[in-house]
Amino acid sequence: MPVDLPMPRVGPLAEHAPRPIKVVLNWGRRYSLWVFNFGLACCAIEFIATSMGSHDFIRLGVIPFAPGPRQADLMVVSGTVTDKMAPAIRRLYDQMPEPKYVISFGACSNSGGPYWDSYCVTKGVDQIIPVDVYVPGCPPRPEALLQGIIRLQEKIAAESLSGAALRRKYAAHRTPSAAELSRPLLLDARHGPAGQVAR
Amino acid sequence: MTTRDIVFVVVGVITALSGLLAVSTRHVVHAALWLLVCLGSLAGCYIVLGQELVGIVQLLVYVGAIVVLVLFALMLTRAPIGPQPDIDAPVWQRVVAALLGAATTALVAAATLPVIGQQSVDLDTPVVTTQQIASAIFGTWVWPFELLSVLLLVALVGAFAVSRVVLARRSRS
């Protein structure tokens, strides 16, 4: 069931603020990236390692506190995105409030990685959601994620939030809906689920 | 007209309006929430009238405990968001309720309006303090107080016993 989502808007403050205030606003977004881990495979282990004591990305303001998408600012897709999971990713991404960012962590979510010719793997999470930073690796080191976060923070510090920028961001991604990404597993619905056909 | 009068009128109007909304809204949970506003602003009335303790007890007991229980019970009934036509009162009940309410209001008004302005109390020097209320409850009115406590205790023990009976019957079957 495709749902027409309204184009997200930024607040009036972020849209019309003068330059010095925008610097402050960017600083706030930069150091408060509540992260929502979309851990799908082995890369998620490296993500967890980054959040633990020896790397501790809370130092950078990346706070792994948000249990759901509504409070999150940053989604880290770490692992193999399958076609079956893709609608869920898209749905949770759509539930995050703007301004939001995505880090694609590892080869699988960058472009399918080792599963580049699999029939059921999405060839890169950027086919369903806009990605801000791609971290290469299979899986990447924890430090590589930290470096990706720093790249993202530099990007945030330099960006200027506006409705036009949001529309540009979604220009390529807002057209297909999450539900269109799934396809029926059985072509003929009359036979019911596969198990019943076998009997 | 002093500031206190104005505040009292405002709080009183809020109380009356929220009370009206509590009985007229078609959303079950909204009714409970309006009741909350009503009871809370009633506590405000008490405080404006210089009866701090009564107001706070009103807040503690009614707003903090009873309305919470009401809301809790409503949520257990899967109270939906939006109006509920199936539990809506029919028109004749509404008319009767409105008539009864108007009659009660008229009765109370007839009893209280004539005495307005006859006697005034100086609220700036509080006459009734917490200690006076305490000595009144535990001195003059100690027997009614104890009787009410026993009544509540009986109700509590009764509720407990009823739940035990139900539990015992369920475990036997």
Binding site: Y31, G53, I58, R59, G68, D73 | I56, V57, G64, A65
Partner: protein, 321 residues
């Protein structure tokens, strides 16, 4: 209250508001750092430069910019009002908690009772949020919160009654003035009951079932974004401040300490901070209880202990008179 000029009222209100905005942030930052070091981490280091002191400011600035999402099926008015309902009671509570005999936002005769009453009102915000979100997890969380509050309100009121009985007054200033070190022993069971019940009312670990993220996402706050969510967070930390200060005033004598006449308010704040650190310490160390364990704890242990404490206090008061 009648002796105050308008200017003084405004000044006091501003001071209370400032404390209301600063103290919770202080507790939040302490939590970040204490929790990090208890887990062998460093905690925020970059926001603001020196050891990430401005982490919560950055959080606040970010929350202001976030999109304000109201779910399509939600009850819009209740959904929008809920954070305010959760937040304002703690502001009122903070206004009447004295830091020293003169340092108090508003002098109220029965301030101990007032604080308990308004804290009980705060739960309505959580209930409204849970019901109005049109989300099953929110509703479950709100029901857990309500069940928790109903159970723990009673022992809390009972132990506060015990302290009020011992002091012979319902005023927080009076209770703290009547405090003697002997109370540390005499009111110890009551103090423990108050602390446990306070933790449960704040929905802090180990009593954080209403927001148990492994079970019900984020409980009543699941659907909240941006500033409204920040209000809930602020309410939680303001709750810690209120509970810690209340505990300090009721059971630790508030400003009692060396040079109490001059730096008494500092003593109250210090005791409150230590208690807040204990709350954080519990959060780091302990796992979450189960809902039925929580109810059992309340009704089998806390209520009887609180009643016993009340009886002991009554006997003590009569004996000493």
């Amino acid at each position: 209250m009648s002796g105050l000029t308008w200017l003084e009222v405004v000044l006091r209100a501003v001071a209370v508001l400032a404390a209301f905005l600063v103290l919770p942030l202080l507790v939040g930052q302490t939590e970040h750092k204490v929790m990090a070091h208890m887990q062998g981490r460093l905690g925020p280091m970059y926001a603001g430069g020196f050891h990430g002191w401005a982490q919560l400011l950055a959080d606040g600035i970010k929350f202001v910019q976030k999109e304000d999402v109201v779910p399509a099926r939600a009850d819009r008015s209740a959904f929008r009002l809920a954070p305010g309902v959760a937040l304002v009671p703690y502001l009122v509570a903070l206004a009447v908690i004295p830091l020293a005999p003169g340092v108090v936002g508003a002098k109220v005769d029965a301030s101990a009772l007032l604080v308990l009453a308004v804290i009980g009102v705060g739960i309505i915000g959580t209930l409204m949020a849970g019901w109005a979100s049109a989300n099953k997890y929110s509703l479950l969380g709100a029901m857990r919160a309500a069940a928790q509050l109903v159970s723990y309100e009673l022992p809390m009121v009972l132990v506060v009654a015990s302290v009020a009985l011992a002091a012979g007054t319902l005023s927080l200033v009076g209770i703290a003035q009547a405090w003697t070190p002997w109370w540390l022993l005499w009111q110890l069971p009551g103090a423990l009951v108050f602390f446990v019940a306070g933790l449960a009312e704040l929905q802090r670990v180990p009593f954080d079932m209403p927001v148990a993220d492994s079970e019900i996402v984020f409980g009543p706050y699941t659907e909240y974004t941006g500033l409204r969510f920040a209000f809930f967070l602020l309410a939680e930390y303001a709750g810690i401040v209120v509970m810690a200060l209340l505990f300090a005033v009721l059971f630790l004598g508030g400003w009692a300490g060396p040079w109490a006449a001059t730096v008494g308010w500092l003593w109250t704040l210090l005791k409150g901070l230590v208690l807040a650190v204990v709350v954080i310490w519990f959060r780091v160390s302990w796992p979450r209880l189960r809902e039925d364990q929580l109810q059992r704890l309340a009704w089998v242990w806390l209520v009887p202990i609180a009643l016993l404490q009340l009886a002991v206090t009554a006997v003590g008061v009569v004996m000493m008179r």
